[in-house]
């Protein structure tokens, strides 16, 4: 599974989307476009990503723009993973 697929899996579970993420790609809009993504769900998504990838986001990492699209979310995960490896 590549990183985007993994992020989509976490997203699907965190928001209980029941497989709807199968139709998502990097350009799919999230924040403001996905009704399930309320503030509780954003937290669930953050925790889900942290647990799945074994990473910890700092408050500085997180902002609204990170959750704009699937692509922007994947980029952050990739970036935090890379920081941890160094």
């Amino acid at each position: 599974m590549n990183l985007t697929e993994q992020v989509l899996r976490v997203l699907d579970e965190a928001l209980a989307l029941h497989g709807r993420t199968a139709a998502f790609d990097r350009d799919t809009a999230l924040l403001g476009a996905l009704p399930e993504l309320d503030s509780m769900a954003v937290l669930a998504l953050i925790t889900g990503l942290e647990n799945h990838f074994g990473i910890a986001f700092s408050d500085e990492d997180l902002s609204g723009s990170v959750f704009a699209t699937v692509g922007s979310l994947c980029d952050l995960v990739e970036q935090v993973l890379a920081q941890q490896d160094t």
Binding site: E36, M40, A41, A44, I46, D59, L62
Partner: protein
């Protein structure tokens, strides 16, 4: 889901708290299989803020399953939560602990057998502190059933405060306001995700840690620690391993287990975890000292 027979429905009532209103409670009388004796009593302590709403279904389903297995189960909505008196802003950690103790006393008058304090998430922090209080009061030792326990109240509080940031990303609330942690530090109430959190409650929560009671016990109880995981091979978290070791060192009989299921406390409609209900029944069924 099939409807439970009428006799198995819980009894709803208000527990009077002198000078502090009333608390909504649900009592599930024990319905042991014919020919067997009641197995004990269970007091349920719910999680924090919106997690209470997300977890009602799972708590109800476990409470019914326990009652049918022969346990007397009491659920209480703490001050300012659910259908109880007061606003969330009125709640303090100590008031919640007092509520938990009052609920324990009510249950102790009606049912016997081993006592399990069942806490979910932040409710686990309350359960551990109540166990300590009961030991200090010289009550018989209690046992702990912890579901996905928060091990640190401080971490729990930080996650809750992150909700404030999340709602700003969603375009709600002004961004020029003081950060909530700073507002709380000044002794003021913050409004996050529809909850008015007082500085007193934030402080009490932040100080709570999931550590064994300091009161000496001649007979420490059992601790059943259950976590959920969506991994193919569910495993207990490193944080849980570390915390459980401290309880073992204090003489508690600790059982940790990870079962397959979703993080149902995070979202409304977060799904069910039938494996958790089964694991709970199995863990409690193993021989328990009175």
């Amino acid at each position: 889901m099939s409807q439970p027979p009428h006799a198995l429905l819980p009894q709803a009532f208000f527990l009077k708290r002198s000078g502090a209103g009333q608390r909504f409670c649900l009592y599930h009388p024990p319905h042991p299989p014919q020919g067997s004796a009641p197995l004990g009593r269970v007091l349920y302590l719910h999680p924090f803020a919106e997690e209470l709403n997300c977890t009602r279904r799972m708590a109800a389903s476990q409470a019914r399953a326990l009652a049918q297995a022969g346990y007397a189960v009491l659920q209480i909505d703490l001050l300012g939560c659910g259908d109880s008196s007061g606003d969330f802003a009125d709640a303090t950690w100590d008031a919640w602990l007092d509520d938990a103790q009052a609920a324990h006393n009510w249950l102790a008058e009606r049912a016997g057998g081993p006592l399990w304090l069942w806490g979910l998430r932040a409710g686990a922090l309350l359960a551990a502190q109540l166990a300590g209080r009961l030991l200090e009061a010289g009550t018989r030792p209690s046992h702990l059933l912890l579901w996905q326990p928060a091990t640190s109240g401080q971490q729990m509080l930080q996650q809750f405060l992150r909700l404030h940031a999340a709602s700003q990303w969603l375009g709600n609330g002004s961004s020029d306001a003081m950060p909530p942690a700073q507002t709380l530090a000044q002794g003021q109430t913050v409004h996050i995700a529809g909850y008015a959190l007082s500085a007193a409650l934030a402080q009490g929560l932040a100080q709570a840690r999931l550590t064994p009671p300091t009161a000496a016990s001649t007979q420490p109880g059992r601790l059943v620690w259950l976590e959920l995981s969506t991994a193919t091979a569910p495993a207990i978290s490193p944080a849980a391993d570390k915390a459980a070791a401290a309880w073992r060192a204090a003489g508690w009989q600790v059982q940790t287990q990870a079962v397959a299921g979703p993080a149902f406390w995070q979202t409304v409609d977060g799904g069910d975890a039938p494996a958790l209900v089964a694991a709970t029944l199995a863990a409690l069924a193993t021989a328990t000292p009175p």
